[in-house]
Symmetry: C2
Subunit: 217 residues, 2 copies
C-alpha cells in the first residue's frame, strides 16, 4: 500500500551476501572467471532462484546465457556491504580467544584490520600478539574516540563482558561482536552480535537426536 520502503532489503538477503562473498573469493582464488547461479547454489546450498533474486535487489550484475563475472560480483557485493575499504577494529581481551581473533586469517582478507588489543591484566599488558602490543584497557576509550573506531570485539571472561560492553559503547563503538559466554545489553543504536558457539551446538543437537537430514549452514 505504501510506496515508501520500496527498497527495504529483507534481513535474510543481507545475511546471505557475506556467504556469497566467501564462496566467490574462494572461486576467484581457484582461478575461475564466471559462475552461474546454479553453481553458486551448489556451493552455498541455496536455491539458485533465490540467489538471483537476492542480487536483483541491488541491480543486475550478470549476463544472460553466461552467468556472473566473479571479479565484478565480488566488487559489487563488497560495495553493498561496505567492505570495499578497510575497517579498523579493536579487541578487548588478550587471552586465547582474543589472540585467536587477532590472528584470524579471514579478517585481513576481508578488509578488517586489528587496530589494537586491550587487556587489564598487568601480566598481559606489554606482551605481543603477533606483531601487536597489548595495551592497557584504560587507553581504550581515548583511542576509540581519537581514531574514530566503530567496531569492537569482546573476548573476555563472562564476568567482565558487560563492563567492557559499557565502556565500548560510551567510547563510541557502534558494532560489538561479543564472544564471551555471557549475554550483554547495549543501548539503542549499537549493533550487537552475541556469538555464543555453544548455542549453535545446542541447536544442532536437536537434529542429531532426531537423525534428520538438514541443510548445512
Amino acid at each position: 500500500m505504501t510506496s515508501i520502503d520500496k527498497d527495504r532489503i529483507p534481513e535474510g538477503v543481507i545475511e546471505r551476501l557475506p556467504l556469497y562473498l566467501s564462496v566467490l573469493i574462494q572461486l576467484r582464488q581457484d582461478g575461475c572467471y564466471t559462475v552461474s547461479s546454479a553453481r553458486l547454489g551448489e556451493l552455498t546450498d541455496i536455491n539458485p532462484a533465490q540467489i538471483r533474486r537476492d542480487l536483483t535487489h541491488f541491480g543486475s550484475f550478470g549476463k544472460r546465457g553466461v552467468g556472473y563475472e566473479i571479479v565484478i560480483l565480488v566488487d559489487k557485493i563488497q560495495a553493498i556491504l561496505g567492505s570495499d575499504h578497510t575497517h579498523r577494529i579493536i579487541i578487548v581481551g588478550a587471552g586465547n580467544l582474543g589472540s585467536a581473533v587477532a590472528s584470524y586469517s579471514g579478517l585481513r582478507a576481508r578488509g578488517f584490520v586489528v587496530a589494537a588489543i586491550f587487556d587489564n591484566d598487568p601480566e598481559k599488558i606489554g606482551t605481543r600478539i603477533g606483531e601487536m602490543l597489548v595495551k592497557d584497557m584504560f587507553q581504550m576509550e581515548r583511542m576509540v574516540r581519537e581514531q574514530e573506531i566503530t567496531i569492537g570485539v569482546i573476548a573476555v571472561p563472562p564476568e567482565a563482558a558487560q563492563l567492557v560492553a559499557d565502556a565500548m559503547c560510551s567510547a563510541g563503538i557502534r558494532v560489538i561482536l561479543n564472544y564471551s559466554a555471557s549475554m550483554v545489553r547495549v543501548p539503542e543504536g549499537v549493533m550487537l552480535h552475541n556469538t555464543d558457539p555453544v548455542r549453535e551446538l545446542l541447536h544442532t543437537l536437536y537434529y542429531l537426536s532426531r537423525t534428520q537430514n538438514v541443510a548445512t549452514v
Copy 2:
C-alpha cells in the same frame, strides 16, 4: 493437505530455543522463579506471542495468569534439544582457537565435555590445555570410534580444515563445528556449521554504513 509432517518443527523455532535457554539459565542464577513471555520477549528481543507459539510446538509448560516456572522450562527445553545429558566432543587444533574453545566456560555449563584435543604439531602434542593433554592427531579416529563421539570442532588453520573434516567424517563424527577461515564440505548426513566470525562482521557492516536501527541478535 497432507497430515504426515504435522509435527515438523520450523527451523526458526529450533534456533530460538537455545537463546531462550541461555536467558532462562541466567534468570535462574539471578534467583528468579517464574517468567512471563513478555519478560522473555524483552530479554531476547523476540515477540512474546512468538515465544508462546514456539513453546506450544512441544507442549504447554506455563500457567495462565502466572507465567512459566523457570526450572521447569529449562528442563523441558533441555529435553527437547537433547542437552539433558552430557555430550562428549573432540577438538582438533590446539592453538589459540582450540584452547579458547576448550576452556570456554559455556561448554560445561550446557552439558558439553571436551573428551580430547588433538594436534599434529610435535611441539604441541603432550602439552596441556587446562587439565587436558594434547593428543596426537593419528589417535583421533580410533578414539572417536571406540568412544562413539559424535561432535567435533575444527580449530586448525584454513589449509588443514578440509583434511580434518574428512578424517572426522570417516571416523563417524556426525556434527562438525568449523571455526577455521575456510569452508569445508562434508558428506550427506553430517551436520556442518561453518561459523566464520568475519561473516557476521560483514553482515553487520551493511547496517553500519546505513546507520539504521536493527534488532540485536
